[in-house]
Symmetry: C2
Subunit: 143 residues, 2 copies
């Protein structure tokens, strides 16, 4: 029940880009250097963000990555959902991909759905701009 480095690093990349949101492309070397994360590993993570439309990229000299939206228009939830695959605590909740044969008799399913909802609601209410501003308190976003 852990968020992997993929999701955590993705958030750090997004925060870094929000902090250097000048309109210019930021090369991955810079981000990797500032965040002290392997550039090669970051490549695979940034690739997901790029393919999902969260980032624009430009190859070659003067190239790099930049945000496609304002920092306040990215929710932590959507970043994590793309990099982690899904935030569902159990696979049975990933409809319609997954259909558990026990669903009709499962006494825990509604409890899991409730947990999923609580997590998504919380993470939907936090933006990359909120993280970059670093003015959060643990209880701030329990809406």
């Amino acid at each position: 029940m852990k968020i992997s480095t993929r999701g955590r690093y993705a958030l750090r990349v997004m925060i870094d880009l929000a902090e250097h949101n000048s309109g210019e492309y930021i090369p991955l070397t810079d981000i990797a250097g500032r965040q002290e994360i392997s550039e090669k590993y970051l490549e695979s993570i940034v690739s997901m963000l790029s393919k999902s439309g969260f980032l624009m990229s430009l190859r070659g000299k003067g190239g790099g990555y930049r945000l496609t939206r304002l920092p306040e228009d990215y929710s932590v939830r959507e970043i994590l959902e793309v990099t982690e695959g899904s935030l569902a605590p159990i696979a049975c909740l990933e409809q319609p991909t997954n259909t558990c044969p026990r669903a009709s008799v499962c006494k825990s399913l509604d409890m899991w759905q409730g947990l999923y909802d609580v997590m998504r609601d919380y993470l939907s209410g936090i933006s990359i701009a909120d993280l970059a501003a670093d003015t959060m308190e643990p209880g701030n976003f329990i809406i």
Copy 2:
């Protein structure tokens, strides 16, 4: 970010024992049969529950397992914490075991702490009796 079979099966065992809470010891064979889970695998899961004091056990003929408390006195949270190890979404929150060197500069830490709190609050409010009764609706326990 998934709850493993250990946690899910543990809940099913607890629900099963709540439904057969006659005061007698219930052999694991019965539970495994009803729940259609490998008895051998369940052994390792039930062992955790027993060592944590959630269950009493008796060996030999007439033996088995039974609850040590009333079903309403077990929260889903404590069952999952024992079987999953911890519900913390990132290791940095597992104090004092883990101390991340970036904690002082980490812009996401409070956000993760908030997620952890939201999850624990939700799961603390649901008991094994609630699950056994099967009267839950997804939104019921967002307190």
